[in-house]
Symmetry: C2
Subunit: 252 residues, 2 copies
């Protein structure tokens, strides 16, 4: 681990010596979060860059350590403030995001799970960069010795929620070459919900979301889809009926 | 252009029919921006996912339309609200971000320009996604017929600011395969500064930044570097002397 040597220094600075279990969640959540910095997406939250791929693989030196076919390549950046809640959110979103077309060619309608596709998840602390002028600063990233077990637990969660054999990873802390064949291209940035200004509201939203996903998990029935689109239409911020058209035609 | 058909619908919805010259800047800036949505990085701003690459290329069907060696692969998402100011910020940051090591192996010390490296820039409207549950919505993306000339002008700006032959692109609006060999991996998300709550402050920051970059452009002299690191140390939000250590040792 060629950056583990900085972890203890970093931990002293950030004061993060907490366990990643639920007991630490509220304490971590109550800590003031840094303001959003222009430049890199700077507020402390878990971040993922998700690329839809035709195939992807990881090599370390000459050795190929991992490879997937069609699916998602996820670069995952864990911040010092992240907790199990952020992890759960990320896993759920990665597995349920509708970035694939269905059998009839309708875009943005299937998730990686719907299509029985693969996930290659690679730890990427540089997503936690804050720019100091033009120099990236990574103090917002969780130190490696804490991030590694946390990252492993996220992978385990993803494997449990999906199929273990379809979730691959890189080699934490190693210098890797990540070969990505971005299909489209389709790239989405994902951020775990930041500071819950209203925890009650947040819990409510989470529950709603989980209920929705349970309904979907029962099968992508027409009635389920209908309900989804109705919700969208009732949403005053949604752009009414044309949403489906836009989504499906604007497959890049 | 296989999504141009939706542009007029989109324009009617978003009301964006403005030119991308300076006269539109203030008007665009005054429009209320959507609040940050948990999930995708949802506030309207120009977004880039920058991957440091050993090599990268773009194919459309069987044809390779572009390829670079060592450098940066930039996926660029333009929002309905973006103006020339956002473009200038992005071009400056992409070209000056220090994501490469110098000759002595010191990480995070050279920009793509310092190393005479290449840039592959590919338009990527999906970075402007807002999640409606698990379905991506792209109404925050600038419609293709406006985005294409804007995107071309950004490329031209980048070529003028650097070397035209070292800045490549994909094929706007085409279904591409973007082959990315992410080196490290090193991935950074970049967001143009959003709603300028204090335009004066913002203008001041921009000027400071430009001055700094001019100084650097004269050559990466030791004295320039020294000044930079001093500034960083004086910055109360910076984490003092160890920053250099962290940056250089935490090369992934």
């Amino acid at each position: 681990m060629w950056f583990s040597c900085i972890s203890s220094t970093l931990r002293k600075k950030t004061g993060s010596n907490r366990k990643l279990d639920d007991s630490s969640t509220s304490a971590a959540r109550e800590r003031p979060r840094p303001a959003k910095v222009p430049g890199c997406c700077g507020s402390a939250a878990m971040r993922a860059v998700i690329q839809r791929v035709t195939k992807a693989s990881v090599t370390v030196g000459e050795e190929q350590v991992s490879s997937i076919g069609r699916g998602l390549c996820v670069l995952l950046g864990i911040s010092v403030d992240d907790t199990q809640k952020d992890a759960e959110y990320m896993v759920r979103k990665i597995l349920n995001l509708r970035l694939f077309e269905d059998e009839s060619g309708r875009s943005w309608s299937q998730s990686v799970m719907d299509g029985n596709l693969e996930v290659l998840c690679v730890s990427q602390f540089t997503l936690q960069c804050i720019l100091k002028g033009n120099k990236p600063d990574f103090h917002a990233a969780m130190p490696a010795e804490l991030a590694q077990p946390f990252y492993n637990s996220i992978l385990e969660d993803m494997r449990s929620a999906y199929k273990p054999e379809l979730v691959k990873d890189g080699k934490f802390g190693a210098k890797m070459q990540v070969h990505i064949q971005n299909d489209g291209p389709v790239t989405v940035e994902l951020t775990s919900p930041s500071s819950p200004t209203d925890p009650k509201q947040m819990a409510k939203q989470e529950k709603q979301q989980q209920r929705k996903e349970k309904t979907r998990a029962k099968g992508p029935t027409e009635s389920g889809r209908e309900k989804g689109s109705q919700r969208s239409r009732q949403d005053p911020s949604a752009s009414s009926g044309a949403e489906g058209d836009v989504s499906s035609e604007r497959e890049p």
